[in-house]
C-alpha cells in the first residue's frame, strides 16, 4: 500500500529504522557477542577505550566491560520502554475510548481523573512510586506507565470523539449494532494510526524516564541499564568521561531513532497532515 511508499521516501524515518534495528540486534545478540557478562569484573578499573585489546569501550569503576554493559543495557532500556508503553496504552486507551464515546458523566469522570494525574508532576510521582514499591524492573515499568497514560487517554478521547461524529457510526447504530460493538469494531480501528504514532514516541520518553530514575539511584540493581551506567559513573565523569558518555550517546541514539520513526509513521499514516508538514 501507499503507506510503505510514503514511509520509504522519508529519509529520517529510514535512518531511524536502521538505527533502531541496530540497537535491537545488539540487544538480542549481547550474550553472543560478549563472553563477559555486564557484571563480571574482567580487568583493571577505569581502563580507557581501546587501552586494552578486547575492551573497545574500556572498563568501569569495578573493571567491568563497558561495551558488554552497553549491549546488555539496551535490553533493559528497550524492554522497559516497550512494556511500560503497552501498560500505559492498556490504561489510557480504554479510559479515553469510554470517555470519548459515552460522553456525559463518564467523560466528565474520566477526564477529571486524567487531569488529576496530569496535575501531579509526573516525574515526582514516578520517583515516589518507585521508592514505595522498591526499585525493580516491574515497579519501574509500572511507575512509568502510571505517569504516561494521561496523554494517551486524552488523545484517544479526542480521536474517538471525532470518529464518533462520522456518519458511518450513525450507520452502524442504525444497523442495530450494540454500542460496545460499535466502539470496538467501528470506532477504535480508526484511531489506531495516531495511537501508533504516539506509542512510538512514548517508548522513547519511557526510555528517558527509566534512565532518569536509574540516574537518581532508583534503578533495578540487578538489571544493567544505561541510566544506571550514567548514574554510577557520574561521580567519575571528570576522570573517566567515557563511562557516562557512551551510555548517554546510546540513549540519545535510541530515543532519536524512535522519534524519527514516530515522525515517519505520522507522515505516512496521516498523509493529509504530512503534506502540510512539508509544504
Amino acid at each position: 500500500m501507499s503507506f510503505w511508499k510514503r514511509f520509504r521516501t522519508n529519509i529520517g524515518a529510514i535512518v531511524g529504522v536502521v538505527l533502531l534495528i541496530g540497537v535491537i540486534a545488539i540487544a538480542l545478540l549481547a550474550p553472543v557477542i560478549f563472553e563477559h557478562g555486564p557484571w563480571q569484573m574482567v580487568q583493571r578499573p577505569f581502563l580507557a577505550p581501546f587501552a586494552v585489546d578486547g575492551l573497545p569501550l574500556g572498563t568501569d569503576t569495578l573493571g567491568r566491560d563497558v561495551a558488554s554493559q552497553l549491549a546488555h543495557g539496551a535490553r533493559v532500556s528497550l524492554l522497559v520502554g516497550l512494556v511500560s508503553t503497552l501498560v500505559a496504552l492498556l490504561i489510557g486507551v480504554p479510559l479515553g475510548a469510554l470517555a470519548g464515546f459515552y460522553g456525559g458523566y463518564v467523560d466528565e469522570g474520566a477526564m477529571r481523573f486524567t487531569e488529576f494525574f496530569q496535575t501531579i508532576p509526573n516525574f515526582a510521582l514516578a520517583i515516589v512510586l518507585v521508592a514505595i514499591f522498591e526499585p525493580s524492573l516491574a515497579s519501574i515499568t509500572l511507575a512509568i506507565a502510571i505517569v504516561s497514560w494521561p496523554p494517551v487517554a486524552r488523545l484517544v478521547r479526542a480521536e474517538v470523539m471525532s470518529v464518533r461524529k462520522r456518519e458511518f457510526v450513525d450507520a452502524a447504530t442504525l444497523a442495530g449494532l450494540s454500542k460496545h460493538r460499535i466502539l470496538i469494531r467501528q470506532v477504535l480501528p480508526n484511531t489506531v494510526s495516531p495511537i501508533i504514532v504516539m506509542a512510538s514516541l512514548m517508548v522513547a520518553t519511557a526510555i528517558l524516564l527509566e534512565s532518569s530514575l536509574s540516574f537518581l539511584g532508583l534503578g533495578d540493581p540487578n538489571a544493567m541499564s544505561w541510566g544506571y551506567m550514567i548514574g554510577a559513573a557520574r561521580t567519575v565523569i571528570r576522570s573517566s568521561w567515557w563511562l557516562s558518555f557512551f551510555p548517554g550517546v546510546a540513549i540519545i541514539i535510541t530515543v532519536l531513532a524512535l522519534n524519527l520513526i514516530g515522525e515517519g509513521l505520522n507522515d505516512a499514516l496521516n498523509p493529509h497532515l504530512s503534506r502540510k508538514g512539508r509544504a
Binding site: 488529576f116 508532576p121 516525574f123 520517583i127 515516589v128 514505595i132 540516574f215 548517554g248 512539508r278
Partner: protein, 325 residues
C-alpha cells in the same frame, strides 16, 4: 463570563483536585515500607524501642490510619500542611523557604523554552525545506532525545569546570554579602546553567510544535486571503500565521507544566538548587511524609497555576473562547 468568574470557578475546581491529591498521596505514602520513626531513630546513631515508641507517638503514627488521614486532610483544608518532625519545622515554612528558588528556576526555564522554542520554530518554518530548517529540526530532535541530567552533567563539565564561566551549582555565592542589584546578578549567574538545561528539552518540544503549527496554519484559507491582499511574507507570518499557530503551543505548554516541575527534581539535584524538588527527593528517603505531601500539593498547585495562566493567555489571544463561554 468574565475572566474573574472563570478564575473563581477554576480555583474551586483546583481546590477539589488538591484535596483529592492529598488523600491519594497520603494513602500512597503510608503504603510505603519504611517507618519515619525508625528512620529518624536510625539517624540518631542508635535507637531502642523506647525512643521509637516516643517518636511514633509524637508523629501521631500510633493512631489508626483513618484518624491520621482525617487529621491530615482537615489540616490541609485549613492550609495547614502539617509538621516535619525530621526537620523540626512546619512543612509550610520549609516549603516557603524553598519555593522561591523553584519558582525562579521553573519560570525562567519556562519562559526561555517558550520564547526560544517559538522563535526557533518560526525561523525553521519560515525556511522550511532549506538547510537552516533541517539544521534546526535536527538540533531540536537531538535536544529532545538528550537526557536532562546528562545534559546537566555535561554543561557543568564544560561551562563551569573547563571554561570557568559560570558557577556549576548553588543558588547564590554563599556569604558574599551581596545586596540589591549585585545579588540579583549573582543569582542570575547561578541560574543560567540550570535554567538552560531544564529549558532545553522543552525548548525542543515547543520548537517542533511551533514549526508544525506554523506550517499547518500557513495552509489555512485565511492565509491565502492575506496573500491575495498583497501582504508581504513577513507580515503574513507575523500577523496571521504566528498568532494562530501559537495557540496550540500555549495549550501544550500549560499541559506540560507538570513535566517541567517534575524535571526540576533532576535539575535541582545536579545543580544543588535549593528548591522544593530536592526537598521532596530528600524527604522521600527519610519518609518525611508531611513534607513530601506538602511538596506534592504545592507543586500541583503550581501546575494548576500554570494552567490557569496559560488559559488566561489563551483567552487574551483568542477572542472566540471568552465570548463562547
Amino acid at each position: 463570563m468574565s475572566v474573574l468568574a472563570i478564575i473563581a470557578a477554576r480555583l474551586f475546581k483546583a481546590a477539589l483536585t488538591l484535596l483529592a491529591i492529598a488523600v491519594l498521596n497520603f494513602c500512597l505514602l503510608h503504603a510505603a515500607p519504611g517507618d519515619p520513626a525508625v528512620v529518624l531513630a536510625g539517624e540518631a546513631g542508635a535507637a531502642d524501642e523506647q525512643m521509637i515508641e516516643q517518636l511514633r507517638e509524637r508523629f501521631g503514627l500510633d493512631q489508626p490510619f483513618g484518624v491520621q488521614l482525617w487529621k491530615y486532610v482537615s489540616g490541609v483544608a485549613q492550609l495547614d500542611l502539617g509538621y516535619s518532625f525530621r526537620q523540626g519545622a512546619p512543612v509550610i515554612d520549609l516549603i516557603a523557604e524553598r519555593l522561591p528558588a523553584t519558582l525562579l528556576l521553573t519560570l525562567t526555564a519556562f519562559v526561555i523554552s517558550l520564547v526560544f522554542g517559538i522563535a526557533l520554530g518560526v525561523a525553521a518554518a519560515a525556511r522550511v525545506g532549506k538547510p537552516q530548517d533541517s539544521l534546526l529540526t535536527a538540533l531540536a530532535l537531538l535536544f529532545y532525545a538528550t537526557p536532562l541530567y546528562w545534559a546537566a552533567l555535561m554543561a557543568v563539565l564544560v561551562f563551569s569546570v573547563w571554561l570557568g564561566w559560570l558557577p556549576g551549582f548553588g543558588y547564590e555565592t554563599v556569604g558574599a554579602g551581596y545586596t540589591g542589584f549585585d545579588r540579583a546578578l549573582d543569582i542570575a549567574r547561578h541560574l543560567v546553567l540550570p535554567a538552560l538545561t531544564l529549558g532545553l528539552f522543552f525548548m525542543a518540544v515547543y520548537m517542533r510544535m511551533t514549526r508544525a503549527s506554523m506550517l499547518e496554519v500557513s495552509t489555512a484559507d485565511f492565509v491565502k486571503t492575506a496573500r491575495a491582499k498583497g501582504l508581504s511574507g513577513a507580515v503574513i507570518r507575523r500577523r496571521h500565521i504566528l498568532r494562530n499557530a501559537i495557540l496550540p503551543v500555549v495549550t501544550l505548554a500549560g499541559l506540560q507544566a507538570g513535566q517541567l516541575i517534575g524535571g526540576a527534581v533532576l535539575t535541582e539535584t545536579v545543580f544543588a538548587w535549593p528548591g522544593i524538588g530536592r526537598l521532596m527527593f530528600e524527604s522521600l528517603a527519610a519518609r518525611d511524609y508531611n513534607t513530601i505531601l506538602g511538596v506534592f500539593l504545592v507543586s500541583a498547585a503550581m501546575v494548576i497555576l500554570f494552567n490557569i495562566v496559560t488559559d488566561i493567555v489563551y483567552r487574551l489571544v483568542d477572542p472566540r473562547i471568552g465570548a463562547r463561554a
